[in-house]
């Protein structure tokens, strides 16, 4: 692992954490009406996965999508703008927290429907394959989503067509209040790969280096035409399902145990111990990112509300694609 790469991933992780912390603040102060599903505790996954990706490599994301969005390089101000429902937000305020897409960074969109984005990723990968592109697609989803029919159909379809798509299951132990042990009867979700004859592997999702390394393996796999990969990232949802969750379904001890495996702290320790990064540089990075986030939030608050007339805009593209129909030669 190159030092610079690790530092860059660390920076992204911190950025995500700061973004989510500010999002919680906004929710607390009732400045966003969006249910905020934070990515806190899972930052290593988005950071480690997206570190490999260019803007031409595509992702589909989830209701817990801020981290993916940021790791793909999204503009924080436009993200906050969307959380606040402003016209300068990613969706002009129409989508909110659960519905941010950013084609410019290859983000095909977050999704409020659990499992809803997985088939989209397969279609995007099919499109890349038909175009003979070397790019690939990553589909992020949770442990809970692997119980959706769309997960099953999508992995099977990607398998038989050997599509360049990497399925990243973020197993954070919970789907709202339901522990994964109550909804899935196997030890490792990656074993579900067996059902489709594709490569599956479980990874320590709180260790950004493991994430990065296994993602590298997966990228090589899909790029060599061997078909899709299912990576299960083992992690933990540190906060409630959304801001406001009473969390009556788990103990504080359980949460505390996982806090000791905090991915940012883990990475920080590694940077200090294995790469000799000084605590000054680390706190400089942290401060920079905090500032970046808070500045973005401040600027977003200055954005205006959407125009009321905008309510009925943006549903249809009224132009037709320009195709010159060619007669058939008999």
């Amino acid at each position: 692992m190159e030092k610079q790469t690790l530092i860059e991933m660390f920076r992204i992780m911190v950025r995500i954490r700061e973004f989510e912390s500010e999002a919680i603040e906004l929710a607390k102060r009732n400045e966003t009406r969006a249910a905020v599903h934070t990515y806190i505790g899972q930052e290593a996954i988005a950071a480690g996965v997206c570190a490999h990706m260019s803007n031409q490599d595509l992702i589909t994301s989830t209701h817990r999508g801020h981290g993916h969005c940021i790791a793909k390089g999204a503009d924080l101000e436009r993200m906050f703008g969307e959380l606040l429902g402003r016209d300068g937000g990613y969706c002009k305020g129409k989508g909110g927290s659960m519905h941010i897409a950013d084609l410019s960074t290859g983000n095909l969109g977050a999704n409020g429907i659990v499992g809803g984005g997985i088939p989209l990723a397969v279609g995007a990968a099919l499109s890349l394959k038909i175009s003979k592109s070397k790019n690939y697609v990553v589909s992020f989803f949770g442990d809970g989503a692997t119980n959706q029919g769309s997960f099953h159909e999508s992995l099977n379809l990607a398998s038989i067509w050997a599509l360049p798509v990497i399925f990243i299951c973020e197993n954070n132990e919970y789907a709202i209040s339901t522990n994964v042990s109550k909804s899935i009867n196997i030890e490792n979700i990656s074993e579900r790969a067996t059902a489709y004859g594709i490569l599956g592997k479980s990874v320590d999702g709180n260790n950004v280096v493991s994430v990065y390394d296994d993602m590298q393996m997966a990228v090589e796999h899909v790029q060599s035409g061997k078909g899709p990969v299912l990576l299960e990232m083992k992690t933990y949802r540190i906060k409630g399902h959304y801001f406001g969750d009473n969390q009556n379904y788990r103990t504080r001890e359980e949460v505390d145990l996982w806090k000791q495996k905090d991915p940012i702290n883990t990475c920080e320790t590694k940077l200090q111990n294995d790469y000799g990064l000084s605590s000054e540089i680390i706190s400089k990075i942290k401060k920079e990112e905090t500032k970046k986030v808070l500045d973005a939030s401040t600027r977003a608050k200055l954005m205006s509300e959407p125009e009321i007339d905008d309510l009925t805009e943006d549903l249809y593209d009224l132009s037709f694609h320009n195709i010159k129909w060619i007669s058939l030669q008999k």
């Binding site: 249910a35 909110g96 429907i113 959706q148 029919g149 709202i176 009321i308 309510l311």
Partner: protein, 325 residues
């Protein structure tokens, strides 16, 4: 309304052992809809079951258990997730009895949540009752207040046919007097306000708004509106609607679902078929515009029909004068 629904569920579980409930996070968590609290503690995990996120299997399991003789209640946390279980509603629950010649019953209740207004955006705010009402074989019940919800839910649970019971999320916190004892409400439309000048036909969260509009119409314009809460789209209790339209000659239909293809079209079509002669003006519809539900506060407020739009439609139909042909 939340407490009323919870009470109805407790009564039902307490009265018939064949009643049980499945859904996501309904046990310890008390449901995403927060309506099922206390059930698992009282009736145990055998009859109150958290499920994985598998809507097709959940609804399908409800249908299968119903066929096999139980009386399951399924909680579908948002009506938007009909997308994820639609086959079991459209092609199984609704068709089984007819397709099998009347020999197989499906006594299933699917409780679900609809509606906009709380910033949940396009995929968690829909009003899809018109889609269900177009599927023969499904009862569609959509209460507007706590009292009605309790009585209608108990009635629905005794129904031997599949019922989709639709609770508007904006109504959960609304309270009204609800007797503690069990009672039922038949599948009937309900005149919520008497009036002679114009008929407002509505249901779900729009009932309150229509009643407020009626008060304002009365005090500001001297217009006396009758407000009818349809409450049940299938079977539709048409008589009170027709009776009222006959009396007033002026009809406004109000619902939150987007207008095009909404249930308002059906109501308008039926009413003019029956009382064409008595109509003094066109039947007008107040409904959401034909776009998905937007997130931003101001857009969503504009999206959901409000009192001013109801008043506008009523005054328009009151001012309508037949031009000489």
């Amino acid at each position: 309304m939340r407490e009323a629904i919870n009470e109805a569920l407790h009564i039902a579980f307490n009265s018939d052992e064949n009643i049980f409930m499945i859904g996501e996070d309904i046990a310890t968590y008390g449901g995403q809809l927060r309506c099922s609290y206390g059930l698992v503690e009282r009736f145990g995990p055998e009859r109150v079951r958290d499920t994985p996120i598998s809507e097709m299997a959940i609804v399908g399991a409800g249908v299968g258990a119903a066929i096999a003789g139980k009386r399951p209640i399924v909680e579908l946390s948002y009506i938007d997730f009909l997308g994820s279980c639609f086959d079991q509603v459209l092609n199984q629950a609704a068709k089984i009895r007819y397709m099998y010649g009347g020999y197989v019953n499906v006594p299933l209740v699917i409780r679900t949540q609809c509606g906009a207004g709380l910033g949940n955006a396009a995929q968690h705010s829909q009003s899809l009752e018109a889609i269900l009402a177009h599927i023969p074989g499904i009862r569609v019940v959509i209460p507007s207040n706590a009292y009605d919800a309790k009585g209608l839910l108990l009635h629905a649970i005794r129904d031997n046919n599949p019922v989709v019971f639709i609770e508007h999320k904006a109504l959960y916190k609304k309270k009204c007097h609800v007797p503690e004892d069990p009672y039922e409400i038949d599948y009937t439309s309900d005149i919520k306000r008497k009036g002679d000048d114009v008929t407002i036909i509505t249901y779900s969260a729009m009932v309150d708004r229509s009643l407020q509009a009626a008060e304002q119409l009365n005090s500001e314009f001297g217009i006396d509106a009758e407000v009818i809460d349809v409450r049940v789209l299938e079977p539709l209790d048409l008589q009170p609607l027709i009776g009222s339209a006959q009396k007033t000659g002026r009809v406004v239909i109000v619902h939150e679902a987007c207008k095009k293809g909404g249930f308002g079209g059906e109501l308008a079509a039926q009413i003019q078929e029956h009382v064409f002669d008595r109509l003094k003006g066109p039947i007008l519809r107040v409904a959401a515009p034909d776009v998905p539900v937007p997130f931003a506060d101001n857009l969503e407020r504009q999206y959901v029909p409000d009192i001013s739009k109801i008043i506008e439609a009523v005054t328009e139909v009151m001012n309508f004068h037949r031009s000489e042909v």
